[in-house]
Symmetry: C2
Subunit: 294 residues, 2 copies
């Protein structure tokens, strides 16, 4: 589907994008997102027109902008963009809202113009993810060879430098798995390519600390707050490769996919085993009941 | 200056860009360069219409494409784009040629479409760098707090994930220095924000090895080959923070700036000292004589 509107281009395949409030399928080549990945993004479930966990997503976007020294667009401006995009979007019920904030346009060179103005992209795409079923779908987790570099300056925030995830996602595709664990050079598990990671052993839920790598996910944040409702606490700490081999359960979280218990864990070396999903199912049911699951 | 041509847009400020061979100042938002920095670039001195060290730049671009699994555009296609861009460019004598190759357009999600087609951007910009003078210009080098993450998958190649360099370049700007050294988390010096680094102690030239971080620069490669002409060899190895404090000379290299001896080294903590430039001057003169210096 390729259509034109009076306001400008609408992208193909039912994707509607606004650049600084104007409908556009294109971005200036001078934008620093292209040259350096100089910006941040959020991916948000848009259900019945409402962006899920908006306040949390905006808070993270804002924190990311502060870290990178980019002026964050006000909440109200992004909301106005969203309302406009929704008028043009043919997508109803469920959609994916993506927000990108970049440092804006600039001349060649890493050093940004201190008087530069940020660019915001607000985009609505069709929901292409299987909708969460009442029963747990099978989910195979593998391990990736591509490492996550450690950098406290960039850890936690959802910036646009995602080549590590791209390379790891290619591995997952090649392994015909659903998701892959990424490790740092010291062989600590940090995250899935597109999800946060929780490991259950002896009834304790642990999740990697994200001080030097990884993205602090919104669903991860909610698991921290809600885990006690299922009679469990969450500890943040380092998780060695061997801890995954001994895990009773592994649970993934993601803003579009919610809580996902892993049913099978397959290592690079080919060891494969089924995992129990008791705590994962409890968490997932809790999230569904409370309307936290997208 | 904002002009229009029959072929499409010419960017403002005398920058001419071709996207897949067609003049355009814009890129589709669906391009993976924007979402993930999923691509590579080269920055090349274009002198009297001739791209300096073209074979070496193309070789590195090709190696980067291979590493990321992106199909590299043939040399002949890039040359054809360059010839076309030159017809539209008002810039003569000296200009900057930038080539970007991305994995092309795609849907949302890290995993690339295996049948996706790469995008090439060929851009000519005005030369805004002071032209190398016969005498050594003063050059103050500082140290940056922003670290370089270690990742063998991405080390050496000139990919589009450059937030670390952006943050470090902001520090350099704030410190009113000309360039800044970046360290990894183990406090090993890796590179300047936009240059490779050579440290001279006891007549020995050493440069950081780039197996886990940094970009393998074209001028760095040439220094390896030419250093013996000035009676010196170059050793690759790890360079600790303390080695910089003891260095007799520090030399930077960059494709647009050539060989640059550092005249003053200022640490974050404020220690400042003048450096000698004997070997740096010899190298710089050699590069000028041989036409290697842009």
């Amino acid at each position: 589907v390729q259509r034109k509107s009076e306001a400008g281009d609408i992208n193909s395949r039912d994707v509607v994008s606004l650049v600084n409030g104007a409908i556009s399928a294109k971005l200036a080549i001078a934008n620093r997102a292209i040259a350096y990945g100089d910006g941040l993004f959020e991916t948000i479930a848009l259900i019945d027109g409402s962006p899920q966990h908006w306040t949390r997503h905006y808070r993270r976007l804002n924190a990311g902008c502060e870290r990178l020294g980019i002026e964050c667009p006000p909440d109200s401006i992004l909301q106005r963009d969203l309302a406009k995009a929704q008028k043009y979007s043919p997508v109803t019920t469920r959609a994916v809202l993506k927000i990108i904030v970049t440092r804006g346009e600039g001349d060649r060179g890493y050093a940004p113009d201190p008087s530069g103005k940020p660019t915001r992209i607000v985009q609505i795409s069709p929901w292409r993810i299987p909708i969460v079923a009442p029963t747990i779908p099978p989910l195979t987790l593998t391990t990736c060879l591509t490492r996550l570099g450690l950098n406290p300056s960039l850890a936690g925030i959802k910036h646009l430098n995602r080549l590590e995830q791209v390379l790891a996602a290619r591995e997952v595709l090649g392994a015909r798995a659903d998701e892959g664990v990424m490790f740092d050079l010291a062989d600590h598990a940090i995250a899935g390519t597109r999800s946060n990671l929780f490991v259950v052993s002896d009834g304790v839920i642990r999740t990697p600390n994200l001080e030097a790598a990884g993205v602090a996910g919104i669903m991860r944040e909610i698991v921290f707050e809600e885990a006690s409702s299922v009679g469990a606490g969450v500890l943040e700490g380092s998780i060695a490769r061997g801890d995954l081999d001994l895990a009773e359960e592994i649970i993934l979280t993601n803003s579009l996919r919610g809580v996902q218990p892993v049913t099978r864990f397959v290592t690079q070396e080919g060891r494969s085993r089924a995992l129990s999903t008791t705590l994962g199912e409890l968490l997932r049911r809790l999230f569904s009941t409370r309307g936290l699951q997208p």
